[in-house]
Symmetry: C2
Subunit: 165 residues, 2 copies
Amino acid sequence: MPEDAPFDPIAEARRQWNSHWGRSATPSMGAVTSIMRVEQILTARLNDLLKPWDLTFPRYEALMLLYYSRRGALPLGKMGERLQIHPTSVTNTIDGLQKLGYVARTQHEQDRRKWLASILPEGREVAELATEVLNRERFATAPLRKQDLDTVYEVLRAFRHAADG
Amino acid sequence: MPEDAPFDPIAEARRQWNSHWGRSATPSMGAVTSIMRVEQILTARLNDLLKPWDLTFPRYEALMLLYYSRRGALPLGKMGERLQIHPTSVTNTIDGLQKLGYVARTQHEQDRRKWLASILPEGREVAELATEVLNRERFATAPLRKQDLDTVYEVLRAFRHAADG
């Protein structure tokens, strides 16, 4: 390791795994720990990019789901399914978007026990402005390039499909 | 898509990106959203595996860091650096481990303003038992195989090094 290379805690953990536990679990430990760290780094960067609109990445994802829905509105249960998050998280996320004036909550016409979230004109505008920034910044993935990003997508798709299928 | 294939929200988002925003940001959006989902799935699975010891994955990581430290003890600041988490998170994690009887908190001998976390014998035993389970379960990465895991590690390493360097 060159003298000025920063210490890499995950590479160090891989060395410890290889020498203490045999090599068989090292690839999985290294991949999982990397995914956890990268998720932290990405979340911090994305939240910074989204700060001008008081969005977080989960709020942005919920807003885009409504933006792309045919009627601009979805039942909260359906949103939880699509975002693959818990009902409580959906409620918190929609509450946040409602306070910001991006989304309204209304009762379902046919079934008044159900709640619908509807995107408001300001929410639609913010969705577009935020997406322009995220697209321009390549979702904070620098310095990764198309080929690397597609590789990550493909490998993780197999994992997601096995987990969700 | 075969009729019985589950709906894939990220594949659907990729199609929307390609048709509404041009293709240039699609690989980054797809990779980032995948990493977020996979992190959620892994966290749920790992926390299930660690439940017998009331550990979560962040607690497990902190415990292993102490387990592998030369003196079985580290200053909390150092732990935050190594785990790449905020000082508040370190404090919460160590508080949790302390309540479980796995770790003790003591003042630094040379500098009494600093706190040290020390692994206790029960913590050492739990670290080994939990690691045996995680290793056997390949850190909940099924059905990914060595080659895929190594690919993810390599690609994300370049990203981590650029972010941390």
